[in-house]
Symmetry: C2
Amino acid sequence: MNRAVALLSGGLDSATAAAIVRSEGSEVFPLAVAYGQRHAVELEAARNVAKALLLPELRIVQIDLRAIGGSALTAPIEVPKGRSAAAIASDVLGAAVPITYVPARNTIFLSVALSYAETLGAFDLVIGANALDYSGYPDCRSEYLESFERMAQLATRAGLEGRGRYRVRAPLIAMTKAEIIRRAMELGVPLELTQSCYDPAPDGAACGACDACVLRRKGFEEAGVLDPTRYQTGVAVSPRHSQNR
Amino acid sequence: MNRAVALLSGGLDSATAAAIVRSEGSEVFPLAVAYGQRHAVELEAARNVAKALLLPELRIVQIDLRAIGGSALTAPIEVPKGRSAAAIASDVLGAAVPITYVPARNTIFLSVALSYAETLGAFDLVIGANALDYSGYPDCRSEYLESFERMAQLATRAGLEGRGRYRVRAPLIAMTKAEIIRRAMELGVPLELTQSCYDPAPDGAACGACDACVLRRKGFEEAGVLDPTRYQTGVAVSPRHSQNR
């Protein structure tokens, strides 16, 4: 059976990507990279998602990127709140990179996944990267992912010995958030267990206002699906994101 | 002034690579990746080397690769001892990958260096990779390093915005260990502070018998330089490695 290592962040996208690859017949080994992000909530979500999807036990690699900083997700910089989906999208169109960009994050994540894959004899690396709804992130583009594949082939013992061909599988790359949500529901992804928020409360409730929350809420609305996310009470943004478009 | 991030392992090669790049006019920022290796001795050596070379403070990123394993350096597997330089070399010629190979290690290291470089506005990543004396490691080949460069360009905000061109600088790639030692001495690298051993005693004394020690000792002998390394007493291998050639 084909083996794949799937990066799980605890979010909706990575869970759906893992579920898609599994539905196509691969044995999926979940991996989380704990990179000193503020919220352990994400790891707990990743663990719950892995369990709900009946995957093997989540492997967790700790890496403390706070020693490097450079992002609102790893350094004491404010996470932007209350931006409309349109404002986030204009970041994409203008090729501005959001402040939540963690320098070379996907490269670090995929490198750790590559290391784990080599110990398993796996050649597929699964990532929830998405180029449509939410980018401006250089490391969510197909061009980048293909370049990582070529590098991986040269980087490893398994590649050197010609035992297989590495692939970075990013099944969500061209999907809208609404399409991702619909596909996730078809595949039985436990959406209520996923955690997308950049700045959740200590109890895990989502802020509802960061870019990730805004896009997630808009996705549920467009998919015509009830959003099962537990939001903090008194969130200052409108619950109807259609007004912000 | 051109900025470079130099990966320091505490060993002779990485210290010399950093010194060479600095001698060519770059401002060098040292970085160590602590990957759950058995010996904190290496980190201490890296810190001492950075100080002796008057570099900025050593940045240390912790990453626990023991969660992955797969190598004698990260899992409870015996480090081979007492192999001759010839036996190590035959691994290279036969393209066998040593048990001390850590899956995708240089890719993880370079990825972390890339992340740090991006926060500094640096485009040069310095690594002590060497393809001659000591390989069989797929990720010590020029072909691999060039592929990483291309990937880095696509992976980052700085690359996307065209602010510079990433280079992986591996000035030792084609040098023999003896050449590296001679160059290190010319540049005032504190060889006595470096630590190459895969299995040092708790006090930092080198075992003298692992592959790294064997190659280091042979290098000093061939360079005609007194080896300042502190070895453990009662080491079972011959101190005259010329007999093993």
